[in-house]
């Protein structure tokens, strides 16, 4: 019930917003997202209690027939892993809404309705236990962001949004085909119809031949690889992140790309064990290429928003590498745990960085780093907040970025020390591009244009302070997150089938 309400609430508010007019919509949207966050806390408490008591809480799952004739169920459930991502979503959406309080969008009711609609779909993706439902939410999440980019985006938005849309939907059609293939291979049972149930799909996947598994593997992977994205499926991303209105970019990078990494974990990892064994090394290599390649691309950027976009590809590459480097049967949970921790941290940090870019843009009218400089002279507090979030992004210990990155590199190391050496280059290259950016924008003598930099507004300041606090809090005290996922990761890991022990 609780889980279903987490999906229903933003949807209801989205519809409500469509019929509201005027400037008040921002406030309604914020209130809606805060209520949703409160509900999320309730869900967390329930889940925590059930974990301590070691009994499943019925309130956290819901399974009712949807299209009975096709074996499609509205089956949602919250476990620790899902909870982390749902929490991330519910934590970030209010901040994303608040960060736009100083802005006046055209047609704000539609904008915020789409934002909440997207939140609904994202949560759906993270809790769906039914393949069809998962796919529906997956595509539903794309629609609002498509419109947000198309209607409120920057220059050249038509072409860029078109590319983004076709690319990602093209990727997910392969996933749909793979899911249907699995569906057709599920056992018929008493009812005589196939089912899209996650566990049934996994069982079906295990029964397939290596060739079949390989097609399914790549079909599903393609959707995730485009969404995250990893090399070489990434070229839609910098353009889209750049042209989207910043709140849209935050939704894309902070939450939506986690659909891909989450998908790897929940849907791809257990589905096709034989194909995983054969093909995971290829994906690990692609992911590591992503890390190094995107870091180098970030170094070449002159535009700060694009720089963050590329840095995001590098970070996501490490998450993907950590998941795909898992060796079933080894019992090593470092990589998997690290990937979840890092999804959480990256979401927070990247939203912070994009907000910083937006704060600068809204005052200076440019993302071009060489045109900026010396902002620290007039905005010392902003500089400190920027630096804290930056340190989270370069994974300094005692920031949230470190825990995930350390565990991920450990996971990759167990797989191959050489691969870990390359993956670890992110530690060096990340410092290179982030510090270059920071120095060019913030340090040095003040310039004639930057001298007009106005102080942060209350809403901007509040969001940055909350994000910076989260960066440090979860770096010093990651226990809540680690405890939350421990059992479920263990369960996931031990459920994976070993092909060649």
């Amino acid at each position: 019930m609780v889980t279903a309400s987490l999906i229903g609430l933003p949807l209801a508010f989205a519809l409500l917003l469509l019929f509201t007019k005027g400037e008040g919509v921002k406030r309604i949207a914020l209130i809606a997202s805060v209520i949703e966050f409160a509900l999320c806390i309730v869900a967390y408490v329930l889940l925590h209690k059930s974990q301590v008591a070691q009994v499943a809480d019925a309130r956290l799952s819901m399974n009712v027939p949807w299209i009975a004739s096709l074996g499609v169920n509205f089956n949602v459930a919250l476990d620790g892993i899902s909870m982390v991502l749902v929490f991330l979503t519910c934590f970030l959406v209010p901040l994303i809404i608040l960060s736009g309080f100083g802005k006046n969008h055209e047609n704000p009711s539609l904008f915020y309705a789409l934002l909440l609609f997207m939140q609904m779909a994202l949560i759906g993706v993270f809790v769906a236990q039914d393949g069809f439902l998962f796919y529906v939410f997956w595509e539903l999440a794309l629609l609002p962001i498509y419109f947000i980019c198309l209607m409120w985006g920057g220059e050249n938005r038509g072409t860029i949004t078109f590319k983004f849309f076709v690319y990602t939907i093209g990727g997910s059609l392969f996933m749909l085909a793979a899911l249907i293939y699995l569906y057709l291979n599920t056992s018929l049972g008493e009812t005589g119809i196939h089912t899209f149930d996650l566990q049934a799909l996994i069982n079906a996947g295990h029964g397939l031949s290596l060739t079949e598994q390989s097609f399914v593997f790549w079909g599903i992977l393609l959707a995730f690889a485009v969404k995250m994205p990893i090399f070489p499926f990434h070229t839609w991303q910098p353009d889209t992140y750049h042209t989207a209105p910043t709140q849209g970019t935050m939704m894309l990078s902070g939450i939506m790309l986690k659909m891909g990494t989450y998908g790897l974990l929940r849907w791809l990892l257990p589905m096709t064990p034989a194909a995983f064994e054969s093909w995971a090394p290829t994906v690990v290599v692609l992911s590591i290429i992503s890390i190094v390649y995107a870091s180098l691309m970030a170094i070449a950027q002159k535009d700060f928003k694009r720089l963050i976009a590329y840095s995001s590809i590098a970070h996501v590459g490490l998450i993907a590498a950590g998941i795909m480097a898992f060796q079933p049967g080894s019992g090593n949970t470092e990589g998997i745990t690290g990937s979840i921790m890092q999804m959480f941290s990256h979401g927070i940090n990247v939203v912070g960085l994009f907000l910083i870019a937006d704060i600068i843009f809204s005052r200076m009218g440019t993302f071009e780093m060489s045109k900026l400089g010396g902002i620290r002279n007039i905005a010392p507090k902003f500089t400190s907040l920027f630096l804290i979030i930056l340190m989270g992004s370069v994974a300094l210990p005692l920031t949230n970025g470190f825990i995930g990155e350390f565990l991920l590199i450990s996971g990759v190391f167990k797989y191959s020390a050489i691969a870990a050496g390359f993956a670890g280059l992110t530690i060096i290259l990340g410092a290179v591009y982030m510090l270059r950016g920071f120095q060019t924008i913030m340090l040095g003598e003040i310039k004639s244009n930057t001298s007009s930099f106005t102080p942060l507004t209350a809403s901007e300041g509040a969001v940055l302070v909350i994000i910076a606090s989260a960066v440090i809090f979860f770096g010093v005290y990651p226990k809540p997150v680690l405890d939350l996922i421990q059992n479920d990761v263990q369960q996931l890991v031990s459920s994976l089938k070993v092909i060649h022990p």
Partner: protein, 629 residues
């Protein structure tokens, strides 16, 4: 009292938080009291623990941190003789430098920021040496790197300083990657990162020399970054861009010795990793000699001291590499005394000279700065290795072990030590003797520094003078060795670093070293005092070889040419050609094909693929929703 050890790092952290959040609202004197007081209190606690420790080793836990599967990492502290010694150095010298800074930074508008950063540094540095596992050590390790970044670039309006800060951070990160991988290798080899577990396992089972060598070398890469060894030393001379107290505290006395601490702490790993051990010795030795040659021709007072620091750190690694763990740590201690002293004296000189750092424009400062002069002289004698000053004893211990290990190491050690004595006295004579070579303006302005600055100088000078008596080279009189013994118990099963009874050979080596140093000092005296020589103003007039050394062998230029420029080139060209013209072009090409095939069949349609896909998906969803209700 020992159970309160967690307070020691927390106190400076609280100081940092108060000053950082209080900011400009706090008066300068309040900032000084909080900044200095928190470190002094930490020193007091450390001292109390020192007296209660009695050679034991205890773990104090503060907080659960990372529990993932077998990985059980807590914020907990290992209180043993080695960590307590470092705690005393950090908080003791740290306090003196905080005190000094109240005078040195008095006029700076960002006075509060400066103290906030310094306190934060002390916090991280204490974590580094107190952690009871590699991860907490790494937290401190990277944390001090951050503070170093912030403090080198403290005057952030200056682009050159900012570049120096960035360089320090990035070069350190290269080392940090080595440390990180080394740590992970330890974890997967020994299933733990807690010192007590790892070290006892290694001492029982050390047959896998390959793994141990790999771990040792990876850790040493980390040490090379933080402790400025070849090939990662280039950031340290640039780091002199920071305010001088920072150079004294971070880039001389404490942070740069973190690598020495790390290897001393991991001594049991290194004694069973012969290749790694030899690497430490050789890299240390080469660095000691190489940096000393550069020091011979530098004319910036802080640059001379910086290269001398690199060289002395090389000495410490030489000591560790030949198995003189106590000797290496001993040299950390004496070096902390005399090098902090020398830097603070340099600060006092720069203060008096209104910011001038070029020794060619100084001279004859003896009269105007009597206290600075005397204390600087003591520091110079101590670093040159003349008895009975502190540097003599610690250097002697390292050289004695080097002689046992390989006579060639000893010989090069002597050569480095001769160069050190020469350039240090060159520095001394050029600064304090001869005629004044600055402007009239500077001459009128010459003054001895205030008490807040001279008191630390005097205390450090006393320590630099007598600090060596903790390590008299005899098996029964070597206090430091007795004290540190418990920390090296495991290692001593393989390599015993105990000093032997004082004998003739040792005496001869000692006499030789003293004569060599004295000869160098005489040469410096002859050239720069007797002949009143001043280094030529225009470096292009230098003979070729000297010019090469003056320009630091063009190592920075070399690194730029082989690393930085290619990296920028690859990313720039990669972006233009691979990213835009290749990968993205293929993607767009496919898109165009789809569009084109769409336009072929666009009879009744508008031809917008995006719209169709959207419409299709929407239709499916609506149908399904209808079915649901």
């Amino acid at each position: 009292m020992i159970q309160l050890a967690w307070l020691i790092p927390i106190l400076p952290l609280i100081g940092f938080l108060i000053i950082a959040f209080g900011g400009k609202k706090l008066s300068k004197s309040l900032v000084s009291i909080i900044g200095c007081g928190s470190v002094l209190a930490a020193f007091g606690l450390s001292l109390g623990i020192f007296f209660q420790l009695h050679g034991t080793s205890q773990t104090v836990k503060l907080l659960d941190w990372m529990h993932v599967g077998r990985l059980q990492i807590d914020f907990s502290f290992l209180i043993d003789p080695l960590s307590v010694l470092f705690m005393l150095i950090i908080t003791g010298i740290g306090f003196l430098i905080h005190l000094y800074s109240t005078g040195y930074m008095k006029e700076d508008e960002k006075y509060d920021r400066f103290f906030a950063y310094l306190n934060l540094f002390v916090f991280f540095m204490l974590l580094l040496v107190m952690g009871s596992n590699y991860i907490v050590m790494f937290v401190g390790w990277e944390g001090v790197g951050l503070c170093s970044y912030l403090l080198i670039g403290f005057w952030f309006k200056n682009t050159e300083y900012n570049n120096a800060a960035k360089k320090a951070f990035i070069v350190n990160r290269i080392g940090d990657l080595g440390f990180l991988l080394g740590m992970i290798a330890i974890y997967f080899t020994y299933n733990s990162l807690n010192f007590s577990n790892v070290f006892s396992t290694v001492s029982e089972n050390h047959l896998d020399t390959g793994a141990l060598n790999l771990i040792g070398i990876l850790l040493f890469i980390g040490a090379c970054g933080k402790s400025a060894q070849i090939p990662l030393y280039t950031w340290l001379p640039d780091a002199m861009a920071g305010p001088t107290p920072v150079s004294a505290l971070i880039h001389a006395a404490t942070m740069v010795t973190a690598g020495v601490y790390m290897i001393a702490r991991s001594s049991v790993i290194f004694v069973y990793a012969p290749v790694a051990m030899e690497t430490v010795a050789i890299v240390g030795l080469i660095t000691a000699v190489f940096a000393a040659t550069i020091g011979l021709f530098q004319n910036d007072i802080k640059k001379v001291l910086a290269y001398s620091t690199v060289s002395q750190l090389g000495y410490m690694f030489l000591g560790l590499g030949v198995g003189a763990f106590t000797g290496g740590v001993f040299h950390v201690m004496t070096h902390a005394f005399f090098k902090a002293l020398l830097f603070l004296c340099a600060g006092s000189v720069i203060h008096a000279m209104s910011g001038e750092q070029d020794i060619r424009k100084m001279g004859g400062l003896k009269k105007a700065l009597p206290i600075t002069h005397l204390t600087f002289l003591i520091g110079t004698i101590a670093i040159s290795g003349l008895p009975p000053f502190s540097g003599f004893f610690s250097k002697d211990e390292i050289l004695a072990h080097a002689y046992e290990h390989n006579k060639l190491y000893w010989l090069f050690g002597i050569i480095a030590s001769m160069m050190t004595a020469f350039y240090m006295f060159r520095l001394y004579y050029l600064t304090f003797h001869g005629p004044f070579r600055g402007t009239e303006d500077q001459k009128h302005h010459l003054h001895e520094s205030p008490k807040s600055m001279t008191i630390p100088l005097v205390i450090l000078a006393v320590l630099a003078a007598v600090g060596g008596f903790f390590g008299i080279p005899d098996e029964h009189k070597h206090l430091l060795h007795d004290y540190l013994k418990p920390a090296f118990t495991y290692a001593s099963a393989q390599i015993n670093d105990a000093p032997e009874a004082f004998n003739l050979q040792e005496a001869l080596l000692m006499i030789f070293a003293v004569i060599a140093a004295a000869a160098s000092i005489f040469a410096a005296w002859y050239l720069y005092k007797k002949k009143n020589m001043v280094p030529i103003a225009n470096e292009s007039d230098l003979p070729e070889l000297q010019r090469l050394v003056y320009h630091k062998y063009y190592v920075d230029e070399f690194y730029n040419a082989i690393i930085r420029k290619p990296m920028d080139w690859i990313s720039d060209k990669g972006y233009k050609f691979i990213e835009i013209r290749f990968i993205d072009a293929i993607v767009n090409g496919m898109g165009t094909m789809v569009k084109w095939s769409g336009s072929v069949v666009r009879l009744a349609q508008s031809g917008n693929i995006g719209f169709y896909m959207f419409a299709m998906t929407l239709a499916i969803i609506v149908m399904l929703l209808v079915k649901l209700f």
